[in-house]
């Protein structure tokens, strides 16, 4: 992908989350939602390097970015949040349970660390079937507090599985800072390497760096060497919901810290530095187009039918 294409993706994901967050305040999307504003470059950079829909992508509760970066329909996402039959999971899953298999986005789930194992299993299936496919799992550093990550990394390394573990380290699990969860001298890269996994430290807000590092890692992954990316980033909004923490008078992190990330390390601002002058000049038009498309899709999603009560038991088995 060109810098401009990557930039457009970043902008599309940002505007998608912003629109959803504004609509969310109307209390008509009745599903706990974890917005990813500020972390877009990780999903965009990684997914741009994949061979979709051939490869298989899995993600966690902060699910929208990977879904959209794979090409999942914004309208179907919006409809899922509104609880409509046209939702990507037919209104049965909500924000945390998304799927778009036709785009290679297999599933997201709400329980911390689950999908790390599931992606590892998909990679195991690819290896058993001698298929040239890789599995990718996005998760936060909060999932590194769960044992399932270590069981999965061990298994992936032991069996030489084509899986890429992508850890977005946004420094907070809900309201717990890293300092409350990891010893000061502990390190995620070391943890991955101790299992025999190749680990890369990445600026997760620099889409170009994420894209290039993923391309490099994937060369190893496709040869059966599992890899781990630790992508440094920052979550702008509260853990769950559309507000800033300072708006809710929460003090577990400061407004200054947020504003420093926004001012110095906004993925969209950083990406714009890679554009030519004429590309930069075209951004306003691009932005207006994106926002118009999203607004129209959101209107269609809202107008779509709600699941009928008679379908309550469909797909239990």
């Amino acid at each position: 992908m060109t810098p401009l294409e990557l930039h457009r993706e970043l902008l599309r994901l940002r505007r998608s989350e912003e629109l959803l967050a504004s609509l969310y305040r109307q209390q008509e999307m009745r599903t706990p939602t974890h917005f990813g504003i500020g972390e877009e470059a990780i999903s965009v950079g990684v997914c741009a390097a994949l061979n979709l829909p051939h490869d298989a992508v899995f993600t966690h509760h902060r699910s929208h970015l990977a879904y959209l970066a794979c090409g999942g329909s914004f309208e179907a996402l919006c409809a899922e949040l509104y609880g409509r039959e046209t939702g990507c999971s037919r209104g049965r899953g909500g924000s945390v349970h998304l799927t778009s298999r036709e785009h290679g986005f297999i599933a997201s789930s709400a329980i911390l660390g689950e999908m790390i194992a599931v992606a590892t299993g998909a990679a195991w299936a690819f290896k058993m079937n001698h298929e040239d496919r890789v599995a990718v799992c996005f998760f936060g550093e909060g999932a590194a507090d769960e044992g399932i990550l270590y069981e999965s990394m061990n298994f992936a390394s032991l069996n030489k599985l084509p899986v890429l573990f992508v850890c977005a380290n946004n420094k907070y699990a809900t309201e717990s800072p890293l300092s409350a969860r990891m010893a000061a001298d502990a390190d995620l890269i070391d943890r991955a390497e101790t299992f025999g996994i190749d680990a890369f430290e990445v600026n997760g807000n620099d889409v170009g760096e994420v894209y290039e590092t993923t391309q490099r890692a994937l060369q190893h992954v496709r040869e059966g060497q599992p890899c781990f990316l630790e992508c440094a980033t920052y979550r702008w909004l509260e853990h769950v919901g559309p507000n800033y923490d300072f708006e809710m008078n929460r003090t577990y992190r400061s407004r200054d810290e947020l504003e420093e990330w926004q001012a110095l390390r906004d993925p969209i601002v950083l990406s714009a530095e890679n554009l030519t002058v004429s590309e930069f000049d075209s951004l306003d038009v691009m932005d207006a187009e994106i926002q118009a498309e999203l607004k129209a899709a959101a209107d269609r999603a809202y107008a779509a039918p709600k699941p009928d009560r008679s379908t309550m038991f469909v797909n239990v088995w």
């Binding site: 939702g87 999971s89 349970h97 799927t99 298999r101 297999i106 194992a117 599931v118 999965s152 298994f155």
Partner: protein
Amino acid sequence: MRTLKYREAISEGLVQAMEQDPSIFVTGISVNYSSHVFGTTKEVSERFPDRVITTPAMENALTGICIGAAAMGKRPVIVHDRADFSFLAMDNLINLAAKWKYMYGGNAGSVPIVTRMIIGRGWGQGATHSQAIHSLFGHFPGLAVAMPATPYAAKGVTMAALAADHPTVILEHRSLFEIEGQVPEEPMTEFVPRRLLWLGRDLTIVATSHMVIEALAAQRALSEMNVSVEIINPVWIRPLDGDAILESVRKTGRLLVADVSHELCGFASEVSALVAEKAFSSLKGPIRRLTLPDCPAPVAQSLEEAFYPKASTIVGLVLEMLGRDVPEGLATIDRVDSFKGPY
């Protein structure tokens, strides 16, 4: 039909399923050890060595890994040498496998993983190597739960589970592995359980798993006392064939539920509630539940002897329910457990 042991029936079911479907593989912490899970995975290990894969002890991740493989078209069979180990896999089994098809609206496909787990019971296996946890799994929509008590059902559920579109938990009982019974030679993909194991008129015994063997022994002793009991064995805990139970109780008017686990919130209570709700007017007396004492399984032989109900316990209860005197010396009908330790 010829006679097979319970463990041979499971083995044959696995072999035939794996012959038919190359996507099936068997995995767990001991599946190709020399003991081959009571011999049940020996033949598949020899026939399909690449598809019988021992893993590290990682029950939770392994279940998630198998869900991922299933989402990509594989049909994994996970084996837990003891059912108790599956507690480590609860998140992936209950939160993900059981709900996958439903919560993605059918759009993410299905994950028909099969989890075999063995109930240890006896010879000092104790509190954490002996539990029957079918009531727990049976609670959750989306998961099929089977508890075969005969070689016929053991092969049947193995093959049916490997042909189904949903995840299945199969609870096998160690005390049943050497039991013999008639099993068809052909694949049993379209398995219909024989729910009525013994026809009778005075009282219905609904028995699960190993309690079926005890109930059949009790039936022989009772028939000598002119008592005719009917024995129903729900092979599937979920989906439960409630009609078979109701039909029987409407005929006999009395119900004893003999289960291999505890009473509170347990399967025996579920069956009792079903009958109390739907066949109350047929009942001639109170329903009785025969379950494990309300404490963890002890190790000492003197306590373990008293912990597990036996055929004589069933006979005593049945006679009591019918208002008959309970004779002395019933314990002579009880089987001596021939199991040699340690595991």
